[in-house]
């Protein structure tokens, strides 16, 4: 979940760079000639339920005329005047191959409702409003969302799709010692992976808590190590392995509240002497082996029953 949120924000920005104006524009453009009267223009707006059109003369874009020009003409009693007299000249346009982010910028800068879109030969090929941009981005987001759903669906059926006498998926994560800035990333990544595999949320929660505590122990007390998770249809086996210093007395270490953490670590809320107990509470099987000067090897097994899989 948490990763998706990040994706949404940057994804939106990414899309405005990725998508071109031609992806958002309307291709059927209603136009008027400069010779048409404002009264005729009013009828065009009414028939097509639009609020403005580009003005074309011999296929060339010469101006743009909007409902505001019509209102002004009405107020001045000039409804019979030619569009060519009332239109706005010097029309700002967008190119078909410009990224949408340019369009967004131009809408903000010029405050107009629509931009005619021209190709590189300056021929009018479409028109784009802010609403068109919004719809194009939403459409693209929906496609992405569906792809993520398919992604999840495929991952969650992987065990059924693989033909083997025994199946195991193994995920490995390196954990940096003494590096608090990345602490928790291994367990967070594992959690995302398990959720994609369709493991039930209560099981994921137990795995995530146990793995986080194991990861924090590696960060706090060692120079680094690794966490390996082996997922089988019937169980998840997590191993946390480090290269020392090792635990002199495991029985003592397992006592709730026993901790060798230095004061500054405790001040951060770590080292309360509850980590291993938390792991034990989450695990169906827990095995802790350690040799001073060699390292520590922690095995955690959490069973998956029928309910454990989605």
């Amino acid at each position: 979940m948490d990763k998706d949120v990040k994706k949404e924000v940057t994804k939106l920005q990414e899309l405005t760079y990725e998508l071109k104006v031609e992806h958002a524009m309307t291709r059927e453009v209603i136009t008027v000639t400069p010779q048409a009267t404002m009264a005729e223009f009013r009828e065009i707006l009414r028939t097509h339920r639009i609020s403005g059109t580009p003005v074309l003369e011999d296929g060339q874009l010469v101006g743009i005329v909007s409902i505001e020009d019509l209102i002004k003409a009405l107020a001045n009693g000039e409804i019979g005047a030619a569009v060519g007299e009332k239109m706005t000249l010097g029309v700002k346009t967008l190119y078909t191959d410009e990224p949408l982010v340019h369009a967004v910028g131009k809408f903000a800068r010029f405050g107009c409702g629509r931009f005619p879109v021209v190709n590189r030969h300056k021929e009018l090929v479409g028109i784009v409003t802010q609403g068109d941009i919004m719809r194009a981005v939403l459409r693209e987001l929906e496609i992405d969302y569906r792809e993520e759903e398919i992604h999840r669906y495929r991952a969650s059926h992987i065990f059924e799709d693989i033909v083997a006498d025994e199946t195991a998926l193994v995920f490995g994560y390196r954990v940096m010692g003494k590096d608090f800035s990345t602490a928790g990333e291994a367990s967070s990544s594992l959690k995302t992976t398990l959720s994609r595999l369709g493991i039930a949320p209560p099981v994921i929660r137990r795995v995530a808590i146990a793995t986080y505590e194991a990861e924090i122990n590696i960060v706090l007390y060692t120079d680094g190590g690794e966490i390996v998770a082996e997922v089988r249809p019937e169980q998840i086996h997590i191993e946390a392995i480090d290269g020392g210093p090792g635990i002199p007395d495991i029985e003592q270490a397992m006592q709730p509240g026993f901790s060798t953490a230095p004061e500054w670590v405790r001040e951060m809320g770590f080292g309360a002497g509850m980590g291993l107990n938390n792991i034990q509470a989450c695990a169906d099987v827990m095995k802790l082996e350690s040799a001073v000067g060699v390292g520590t090897h922690l095995d955690i097994i959490i069973y998956l029953d029928e309910k454990g899989r989605a």
């Binding site: 800035s181 967070s188 986080y212 938390n278």
Partner: protein, 114 residues
């Protein structure tokens, strides 16, 4: 009760993920010991703590908590705010003490989880 209502009522300062305040709060938990939080806090809970370092984000997102209230005017590490925004985790600060905030939350009907 939604995070937004709680933040407004208790006059909490929103420091991260202001777009995630429509989360429903399922209860509350207060502790400065991360292992206790991991053991007890439930999904959707609001966590009240003195800790302000980036690991509170890891703990809170792991448990899918609704948000974190950092008390007693503790200044957040810049990396805490950055991480929380990345993960979409609302973090609030307040000058009040944890006890006061928990008391106010209880008055609003936010219950403990044990």
């Amino acid at each position: 009760m939604k995070l937004q209502e709680i933040a407004t009522t208790l006059d909490l300062t929103v420091r991260a993920a202001p777009d995630k305040l429509d989360m429903e709060v399922t209860g509350g938990y207060a502790s400065d010991l991360l292992s206790c939080v991991l053991a007890k806090a439930q999904k959707g809970n609001l966590w009240v703590t003195l800790q302000a370092h980036p690991n509170i984000v890891a703990v809170a997102t792991l448990l899918e908590l609704a948000g974190v209230v950092v008390t007693e005017g503790r200044e957040l590490d810049p990396s805490t705010v950055k991480k929380a925004n990345e993960k979409g985790l609302p973090i609030f600060t307040t000058s009040h003490a944890t006890f006061t905030i928990v008391g106010e939350l209880a008055k609003l009907g936010v219950a403990g989880v044990d």
